[in-house]
């Protein structure tokens, strides 16, 4: 159930998982580079430590995104293939029991060529982190970190159970690299657990979003694409040693809605979000005009509070995503859109007809549930006359399908 980052931004989120409260097992390998092979944007090549899903794949920055549904029973295995240092997985923010917490002297650490297991119930839907807690100052900087995303129990496109519905989602993990911390004697050191370790001064030269920086940011993993009136959910997380100030263009109408895996007491309208090491924030974007520009991400030195780098992540908001002919190929077609009364729904090759078809408002609140049975040739008509005017989502959710469309009640 772990997914490489690109899967998320290509909009395959729906496919993450459909079954409810399932048992999920996955395995990561922890490794280190014996030679420098990770290339940075300017051609500089460095050594990393990190987690990979396959033993043969090179370590990437950040490590794979782990995705679970709230309530899942998770068995996350880790096979340490480092050839040297012990490693762990600390599940940052998941509030797991002490034995599973991944802190070497308080739980367990995994020596080379051993496997350890982290078993836990996926907590409240939200954005979390995982990272190694062995000589954490060095191993985290070396690359042993990634995002951990918990979806609502039904795995659907809402921020949490009863939360906001969204059309698309981007997860941005901020960090830095100081190449002096990636030299051979640091990356390949088989640290004796519990010993005191010397640390260099931290003077990072690379400031990253999802391991990308500068010219690499024109990339689906680090840019925002959407349409006017889309709801775009941004998961922001900081695993570096600098603060981040994320500045959204005003026309994205950014709203701060959650932090550290919990909803905020009330949403806050703000274009600027500051997050510091270990923090996560959820931001809902509601673009109201066509727009091309950038989100600026500033990297703030914790000691001087000076901005040492600004990275620009591209934003493209295109015109209204009106629903017309091109939808014919799709698995669920809804028309007319906008509608004043009846909304017709046509299915085209569902995998499972025992699911639920419902209409949600923009806050994810269910406002209408279909009671008619569905079959292969179903065409149904839902009466939306009772709904207030506005933007709605219609969702079909079964064990195998997760279809979401937006429509406007006029």
């Amino acid at each position: 159930m772990s997914f490489q980052f690109r899967h998320i931004v290509l909009g395959m989120l729906f496919l993450a998982s459909f079954a409810r409260a399932q048992v999920t097992t996955n395995l990561l390998y922890s490794k280190m580079d014996f030679f420098a092979q990770h290339e940075l944007y300017d051609g500089n090549v460095i050594r990393l430590m990190g987690y990979t899903e396959l033993i043969g794949t090179p370590i990437d920055l950040p490590s794979p995104v782990l995705i679970y549904n709230e309530g899942d029973s998770v068995d996350l295995g880790m096979h340490n293939f480092s050839q040297a240092a012990h490693h762990t997985i600390h599940l940052h923010g998941l509030d797991v029991d002490q034995a599973t917490d991944g802190v070497p002297h308080l739980s367990f650490s995994i020596p080379h060529d051993s496997v350890g297991h982290y078993q836990f119930i996926a907590p409240h839907a939200g954005t979390y982190l995982y990272h190694c807690h062995v000589v954490s100052t060095l191993h985290v900087q070396a690359g042993m970190y990634g995002l951990l995303i918990v979806r609502p129990p039904d795995g659907g496109n809402t921020t949490w159970d009863g939360g906001y519905a969204f059309d698309s989602e981007n997860a941005w993990l901020f960090s830095e690299i100081d190449t002096n911390w990636h030299q051979n004697d640091i990356i390949n050191d088989p640290y004796v657990p519990g010993s005191t370790v010397e640390i260099l001064d931290y003077v990072p030269q690379y400031f990253m979003i999802n391991g990308k920086t500068e010219t690499q940011l024109s990339n689906p993993e680090t840019s925002i694409e959407g349409s006017v009136n889309d709801a775009i959910y941004m998961r922001l997380a900081n695993i570096g040693n600098y603060g981040n100030r994320v500045i959204f263009p005003a026309s994205l109408n950014a709203q701060l809605i959650d932090s550290d895996g919990r909803p905020l007491p009330s949403a806050i309208n703000t274009d600027t979000v500051e997050l510091y090491p270990g923090e996560r924030y959820g931001v809902l974007l509601s673009p109201d005009t066509e727009f091309t520009g950038n989100v600026d991400v500033e990297y703030i030195n914790m000691n001087t509070q000076l901005v040492e780098s600004t990275q620009e992540a591209p934003v493209t908001i295109s015109g209204f995503n009106t629903i017309n002919q091109w939808e014919v190929e799709q698995e669920m077609i809804v028309y007319p859109n906008p509608t004043q009364n009846d909304l017709n729904v046509v299915f085209n090759g569902l995998k499972d007809y025992n699911g639920t078809l419902k209409i949600m408002d923009v806050n994810g609140k269910t406002v209408l549930v279909n009671n008619e049975n569905l079959n292969e040739n179903s065409t149904l008509s839902l009466n939306t006359a009772s709904l207030d005017k506005g933007v709605y989502f219609i969702q079909y959710l079964s064990s195998y399908d997760n279809l979401l469309k937006k429509f406007v009640r006029q």
């Binding site: 509030d95 308080l106 040693n241 919990r262 997050l275 914790m302």
Partner: protein
């Protein structure tokens, strides 16, 4: 229902009983001894005429008044001010003393400090916590501070430093670093499952710190920076220079869990891991 209402009134009555808390603190100049025995010049306020490298924590209940003598036993003049309370300050010439009075109608955390030559005197150690309570839960107190061991001597002798190059090498809570923070009963969070534990944090340093709790989320009860932060349930709490935060932790399970600055440079001391802002909380069944 009636008797319940009666109890509520009684409790309100008790907590609104306003006392005057009398305290006396002494400004002394000496030195800080760090985790690896590195020393550098340091100044603090003290309970007695004897130097301690942590400033006393002054405690009151909501609506209490503080009547405070500040005695300047240092060889130079100092000022005295309470952050987030008043923008005015008192001047205390060398060898002199001043009596100040404040009434605290809002529960929370405050910082008393010397604003003279800001931020120099505060940076050199003259900043402590004032705690104003509206509860009787077990409470813990962190005076969070970082130090650049090469700067204090210069600052003490009025040699200018360039704050845009500030790079601290020691990180302390109540004057201690790992592993000594766990031995400080004021700092180490100890309790039982189901307890309501209150954590008071003030950042008297000049860096931002980002304090992370393993094992539990906590609710922000008070933030001197922004009322918008109140009510948030989080596991990581950035705290800016001269900010105070109050958190409520209600542990739902037992365990010994780390609590540390997630700027992982700050869990080191003099470039040694893990001699910095790292401790554990201990929750029993």
């Amino acid at each position: 229902m009636k008797s319940f209402a009666g109890i509520v009134v009684l409790i309100l009555g008790l907590s609104s009983y306003a006392a005057t808390v009398e305290e006396k603190i002494y400004i002394l100049s000496d030195s800080m001894t760090c985790v690896d025995n590195t020393t550098f010049p340091y100044r603090t306020f003290n309970d007695f005429n004897a130097f301690s490298q942590n400033n006393p924590i002054l405690q009151l209940n909501q609506d209490d008044s503080l009547s405070l003598w500040v005695v300047n036993f240092d060889s130079i003049d100092h000022n005295f001010q309470i952050e987030d309370y008043a923008s005015t300050f008192e001047t205390i010439p060398a060898g002199d003393s001043v009596l100040v009075g404040y009434k605290f109608v809002n529960a929370g955390g405050y910082i008393y400090h010397d604003p003279l030559n800001a931020p120099t005197n505060q940076y050199l150690g003259l900043a402590g916590m004032i705690i104003v309570k509206d509860h009787s839960h077990d409470s813990f107190y962190w005076n969070i501070k970082e130090h650049d061991s090469t700067w204090n001597d210069n600052l003490l002798h009025n040699v200018a430093v360039d704050w845009t190059t500030y790079e601290p090498d020691f990180f302390t809570i109540n004057g201690n670093s790992n592993p000594d923070i766990n031995a400080d009963p004021l700092a180490r969070i100890v309790g039982n499952v189901g307890d309501t534990l209150i954590l008071y944090m003030s950042n008297t340093g000049n860096s931002v710190h980002s304090m992370h709790l393993h094992g539990y989320h906590a609710t922000i009860l008070y933030s001197s920076k922004s009322a918008l932060e109140v009510g948030r349930e989080k596991d990581t709490f950035p705290i800016h220079p001269m900010q105070s935060l109050v958190l409520r932790i209600v542990p739902d399970k037992e365990g010994e869990y780390p609590v540390h600055d997630h700027n992982l440079v700050a869990v080191t001391g003099n470039n040694l891991y893990a001699n910095g802002m790292f401790m554990t909380m201990l929750i029993s069944p």
